[in-house]
């Protein structure tokens, strides 16, 4: 039983399930480091998942699907940015509204385009990359994800842009007095989160399920935000957290069928999260001006 559960397959499955979460939580890091709470990530992932299938469906080219997903995510994030940065509307309200809008919009368009409600036709995913000299295959998106994690970590903590972005989240007034364009920086953070969230959604539909189903994100955007907090608003931390969520989920899938009630097993990912939050991570401190609109 133990060997059946603890295997390489478990890790691969955990990685697969952590990819969409990781992209979205990296997006969350960019947005919130700049001082904008982005709970619209759930909706951004959903339009990303939808965009990936639509782009691929019409062109038969998954890379164009990927671009569509990124641009759809970008558009939703742009609305969030305009509403919450330029017009200084409460960011939670804007995000909630966008999540509801994303559900309605993708459902409506999916029925219009595919002439059937519920789900799209199945599509072909990306050509998998092969490790030289072996039979091992990996999705290009997973490779991209690792690159994005490393680049994000460097950009946020080692570059001038990152310093300014963080300044806008910690104390936008100080940043402003030093000549940083807070509005522009916050826009950039939110828009990057839109592109990354779109990528996360694209992995769900394009690389994993190879089909779009209405509402298929099923709360993953919020789990990604939990991963971001759990990872203390750092890219590497967020990835570790999301991988842990993926691992817990993969673990519980393999734990079923041994006579333990499903309802109990289903709690495991959440219990693990809480234990780790309390025991290992300790107090997570958000950027001081996270969620507070900036007014000159």
């Amino acid at each position: 039983m133990i060997s059946g559960i603890l295997s390489l397959e478990l890790l691969i499955s955990a990685l697969r399930m952590s990819v969409p979460l990781t992209f979205a939580s990296l997006g969350g890091v960019f947005s919130e480091r700049g001082g904008v709470v982005n709970i619209a990530l759930e909706g951004i992932m959903l339009v990303g998942a939808f965009g990936a299938v639509v782009g691929t469906y019409f062109t038969n080219n998954p890379w164009i699907g990927l671009l569509t997903a990124m641009s759809f995510g970008f558009l939703i994030a742009l609305i969030h940015a305009v509403v919450s940065i330029t017009f200084r509307i409460n960011q939670i309200i804007s995000g909630t509204a966008l999540n509801i809008m994303a559900t309605g919009l993708t459902t409506f368009l999916s029925r219009l385009i595919f002439k059937a409600a519920g789900s799209s036709p199945h599509i072909e995913g990306m050509v998998q990359w092969r490790f030289p000299g072996t039979n091992w295959q990996i999705s290009p998106l997973i490779v991209i994800m690792f690159a994005v994690i490393i680049i994000s970590q460097i950009v946020i903590f080692k570059t001038r842009y990152g310093l300014r972005l963080r300044a806008c989240g910690e104390n936008p007034y100080a940043a402003d007095s030093l000549g940083v364009d807070v509005i522009k920086m916050r826009y950039s953070g939110v828009l990057i989160s839109g592109v990354l969230g779109g990528l996360g959604g694209a992995f769900l539909s394009l690389e994993h399920a190879r089909v779009f189903v209405e509402g298929m994100t099923t709360g993953r955007g919020f789990i990604a935000l939990a991963g971001m907090i759990f990872g203390r608003w750092t890219p590497l931390g967020s990835f570790s957290a999301c991988f842990l969520f993926g691992l817990a989920e993969a673990f519980r899938m393999r734990l079923e069928g041994f006579g333990i009630p499903t309802q109990f097993i289903q709690m495991i990912p959440y219990i693990v999260t809480m234990c780790v939050l309390v025991g290992v991570v300790g107090r997570a401190v958000a950027p001081a001006y996270d969620g507070i609109p900036f007014e000159k």
Binding site: I100, A117, S119, H122, H208, R210, E214, G215, M253, E256
Partner: protein, 328 residues
């Protein structure tokens, strides 16, 4: 002014007469389950039943879908009843409470619920299916055709209704192949479990990796992921509710048909003929309410010997020689 008012009165009277004339046509309204039309499964079957009734019985039909999470089920049922629909159908057991309430408010309107049981109301007909019987047959096909002696089952929401599929399937597998092992997984414990193809695929993949070569799903739109897993790993999936053989030709062995369309059509037909009665109507193998899908997509997948054996099992169940269990 007076003339004007009288004019309006006359006009409105005429108008109401004319609307009376139109209502002579029987009106049927359907409220779908979460997932909505186009799930290539359960709701689509309900839609087909309604379309068939519109075409062949000349009734007027309207179908609506509850919003996200399905919280407005009750309002939609009430809306249709208020608009003078003669028969209002709630598709799915989740309608049980809402439909009971609304049916009491509108005793002159006829109601039907699919998959739920409401007793004691003369204007409500409950349409229930013997899913375990159909699942038994696809289980027998899986049991006869597995090369690894291991088959899988992926359920949607972990609840009694889906357990019926699991139990029947397991019984079918074991009846023809006592040595076979059945792996069982459920996607979740909420309604969301019916629209998460990613988890459906992960579960099916883990079952295939554990050595299963045929996986049966009863998980609504999440099953798209199960079928995708079969396609990717070159194994077999078994579809559910509607005929899903076409989704991935060559990788869907067969589908367990749950003929919601037949049940809805029959209900409308009874209403049109004035034979509508309340109470529970059971649709099993005998009533042709459940069955196995054979079509051009799986013509070459299932050998004749298996088909013959399954046909015999079907007769045995109808004759009562085999009693299929329906709960754990």
């Amino acid at each position: 002014m007076k003339k004007f008012l009288i004019g309006i009165l006359v006009l409105s009277l005429l108008f109401s007469f004319s609307t009376f004339g139109y209502t002579a046509k029987i009106k049927v309204g359907i409220v779908y389950d979460v997932g909505g039309r186009g799930d290539k499964s359960f709701n689509d079957a309900a839609y087909r039943g309604l379309q068939e009734a519109i075409k062949r019985l000349g009734v007027e039909g309207k179908d609506v879908e509850p919003g996200e999470g399905g919280a407005n089920r009750e309002e939609l049922l009430r809306l249709l009843a208020e608009q003078g629909y003669d028969l209002v159908v709630g598709v799915g057991f989740l309608f049980t409470d809402a439909l009971t309430k609304v049916a009491k408010e509108f005793p002159n309107t006829k109601f039907a619920i699919v998959d739920g049981v409401i007793e004691g109301l003369p204007n409500v007909r409950s349409l229930v299916f013997q899913e375990h019987e159909g699942s038994f047959l696809v289980g027998a096909i899986a049991g006869l055709m597995t090369k690894t002696n291991k088959v899988g089952f992926v359920g949607g929401m972990d609840m009694a209704l889906i357990h019926k599929f699991e139990v029947g399937y397991r019984a079918g597998v074991k009846y023809v192949n006592p040595k076979a092992e059945v792996l069982v997984n459920y996607i979740g414990v909420t309604g969301e479990a019916f629209k998460d193809p990613v988890k459906g695929k992960e579960l099916a993949m883990s079952q295939f990796k554990q050595g299963a070569d045929i996986v049966y799903h009863a998980s609504g739109a999440s099953g798209e992921g199960v079928i995708e897993a079969a396609k990717e790993m070159k194994k077999f999936a078994i579809g559910v509710d509607s005929n899903q053989n076409w989704i991935a030709p060559g990788y869907v062995l067969t589908s367990m048909l749950k003929k919601v369309d037949v049940a809805i059509y029959k209900t409308v037909e009874d209403l049109v003929k004035g034979k509508f009665t309340g109470g529970v109507k059971v649709y099993g193998l005998k009533e042709d309410g459940v069955g196995v899908a054979y079509d051009k997509y799986n013509a070459k997948l299932i050998p004749d010997s298996v088909r013959k054996k399954v046909a015999q099992l079907r007769l045995d169940i109808i004759a009562g020689r085999i009693v299929v269990p329906s709960s754990r």
